[in-house]
């Protein structure tokens, strides 16, 4: 009996740690994705803000925004692949849309002009705020 319980506990632990095993994203896993997305967007916004103020170098802005874009693309791919329970579908869909938008904006940030950087910083801040709101609602 104890062995069975331990087995069930292990499966529960594995499912909660590796949601892909269940084929579905639960609220917690979805909230993690929202957190990752918020992080990439907020960091991109900070980088864009520094670029507007002339605080960064061209090379660093291009390379670091490319790293952040990789993170956003990964989140986007995972969200697009994921399934979730019906009540969480709208949030999953919305997060996927934000992730796609953040990826595009971060790609543009690498080679943007000063004026464009200002607009991109605004967009990234808005995306971070929305991802945070969704993440909080999922907790």
């Amino acid at each position: 009996m104890d062995g069975l319980r331990a087995h069930a506990d292990l499966i529960h632990l594995l499912k909660s740690r590796f949601p892909a095993l269940t084929g579905q994203l639960g609220a917690k896993a979805l909230s993690q994705q929202a957190k990752s997305l918020q992080s990439a967007a907020a960091e991109g916004a900070l980088l864009a803000q520094d670029a507007v103020s002339g605080k960064t170098t061209r090379v660093y802005a291009r390379e670091h925004s490319s790293d952040l874009r990789t993170a956003a693309v990964r989140v986007e791919a995972e969200l697009k692949r994921a399934k979730t329970e019906p009540s969480l579908e709208p949030k999953l869909h919305r997060l996927a849309v934000i992730a796609a938008r953040v990826s595009v904006v971060l790609e543009r940030l690498g080679g943007a002009s000063r004026n464009e950087e200002r607009a991109l910083a605004r967009e990234l801040r808005a995306a971070a705020a929305e991802a945070e709101r969704i993440g909080r609602a999922l907790k």
Binding site: L46, G54, V59, Y60, H64
Partner: protein, 411 residues
Amino acid sequence: MSLKNVLAVALGIMSAIGGFVDIGDLVFNTQAGATFGFQLLWVVVVGVVGIIVYSEMCGRASAFAERPVFDLVRERAGFGAGLATLVASEVVNLMTCAAEIGGLAICLRLLSGLPYRLLIPLAVLGLVLASWVLPFRWIERVFGYLGLGLLVFAVAAIKLHPNWGHVAHGFVPGSHAGGSLTVYLYFVVGLLGAAMTPYEVYFYSSGVVEDRWGLKDLRLNKVTAIIGYSLGGFLSFALMIVAGVLFLPRGISPQFLGTPALGAEHALGQIGLLLALVGILFAVGGAAIETSFAGAYNLAQFFGWRWGKKERPAKASRFTLSWLVIFALALLLVMTGYDPVKLTEYSVIFSVVALPLTYLPILLVANDRTYMGANTNGKLANFLGGLYLILIVVIALAAIPLLLLTNGGQG
């Protein structure tokens, strides 16, 4: 103390400050600050005192016995225990060396814009050349001094105007807010592991022999360990404070080595960014050499080969081949494309598991009159050594479960 000695101490301390921070400290201090603000500053203090206690012991043992500590460990602990220590430390050294090389290539990419995969072999080539050409003392100094660029984080921390009351509160262990208890404990373990990495004591003790320290240098050993590591700890504080002020309120979870540099950039502009990147470059470059050498030192000292930078490469051929092979294996590991930041997290956590194997034999040797004569541990060194040993065993047992439970600190 003559002016020459004061200068020697100052130079030693400066290189110890610049050489204290490696990729593990950069990753864990920044992530801890971004997750818990200043609440984990006390852990850095605990870690720094631990590395001071054991480095001083190692330095004293090596200076008195005129033999490096791994040599003494193998003799004192016997072949079986010595071999287990050797295997564990070599695995951790290799992982850490690979992480540092990956970090070096990332830094070069952020400075030059050249492709990462091209920069990895170039970085290794540069490290091999520096290791081959420079004498031991100059390897320590060049990388240590240029690693002082990291002091820019101390300036950035001040310029970002943290709430100093909250910062002071962070030095007092207590309840936490802003994340789960398991994530908090994961960072406690990671920060201790990053501060007390085994390769640092092996490199330090072999350095004592390379620099030909003797009994007359016992005070120099104490001063260098205490002041050098303490001031190096300030860099860790600065990294955590910058992350706590800048990243935590914005919900940024640092996943890239370029993120800490963003903190210096935001506070100080382009000059801050460049100093941070150069500081990181030399800090991780120096640590890559230290890990490859620590690995070669351990092998050579365990098997009784001729070793040391003071020897001609042909005379200490197996030692020279060992550090070259460690660089080559680390190069292969990084070329697989595995994320250096993730590799850092794993190397630090696995180094925590290996900590008791490193520190218990050192404590035994430091209490053995056969090796230490009248210079065995005093009451304070034994009290602190024993206390840290208990702490090390506890965190070694907790490290892997916490890594799994928190999904590497993600919660």
